[in-house]
Symmetry: C2
Subunit: 216 residues, 2 copies
Amino acid sequence: MSNETTNLNIKLPEPTLRRLPWYLAYLKLLKDKGEEYVSSTQISKEINVDASQIAKDLSFINISGKTRVGYEVDSLVTVLEDFLGFTSSHRAFILGAGSLGAALLHDNGLDQFGLQIIAAFDVSPAKIGTVINGIPVYDVRDLAKYSKSLDVNIGILTVPVDKAQSVADQVIESGIKAIWNFTPFRIRVPKHIVVQNTSIYAHLAVMFNRLKCNHK
Amino acid sequence: MSNETTNLNIKLPEPTLRRLPWYLAYLKLLKDKGEEYVSSTQISKEINVDASQIAKDLSFINISGKTRVGYEVDSLVTVLEDFLGFTSSHRAFILGAGSLGAALLHDNGLDQFGLQIIAAFDVSPAKIGTVINGIPVYDVRDLAKYSKSLDVNIGILTVPVDKAQSVADQVIESGIKAIWNFTPFRIRVPKHIVVQNTSIYAHLAVMFNRLKCNHK
């Protein structure tokens, strides 16, 4: 495995990108246990993905196993963490310090995955000027000022649904390049803006339906 | 639209189940604005899903629009909320009161979508006996006792990766029927157990990669 692999800016298929963190989580467990090598068959057994799929996913990032011994656990962890961006620091703002926004401000785990929340923004005078888990809450009218001076590239959208589009527009206008959309609203953005939708309430709907169908 | 539709326990395709909350979010906006009818074409324009797909998705839950006027906004909101389980109360435990677990305990929004978090469980003596956002933290060894007496059906898994499988096993043993897995670990469960994976860190990986590729 060469170091160059970690610098490749290749656009991977989304399903692959979503599986790589699963492999990483399992590999880190192996690393903690002191394991040196792992085969795709072994990963496959543990996380229920076809071994051929795993080999294909890993080949995207220029990693190949050695015959008989498999992948080197240590280097694979390093390359995956680097490739996935978890070792870099991505600066982000939270838009909307309501219930879900405040919840994310309490999740120090995001930091370990390369996301650094610098500030939150809100419209409520009761919230502006407060500090949540060490992170300041500013007036959303000052968004453009702060996003430039603080070099922030990601806006995390946790506003109410009826404000989702207008706040997304403000975020983009302020020069931010990516929006992590936690609202169930499908925002419209220009082509060059990255949008990642994470509607945890939609996941709830799937779970409720499966529960109902399993236990009727 | 008949009331019977809301009682149908039909197993919908997951993509449909994930889109229905988008429609609901938009319909609630229209309802707040006092709109009476909406066409699938209008929904389509707003949320970037084909009108034919929308009509198909809604037909799954036995809803059809009227010629010329479209869907009745009010009833569609009611039927969708009911169907998605957002108006029922689903009782849940949080397993792991660490960073992400505590974050979810702070999200009062889950309640509005039909998820009621009754208690959290942890192994840390420093956390056991505390109360986070009004919700008590118990010793994980008492899980089975509480899950029976409190009639809880959902376990929200926010433990560290190396504990994901063993805690999932405990949850299932305690009689809980569904696991909402926030860890990046692929847990293995018996067939009759519902698992919903929500790995927000995997979404981060997708967003980081797209950002890198857009702005190289």
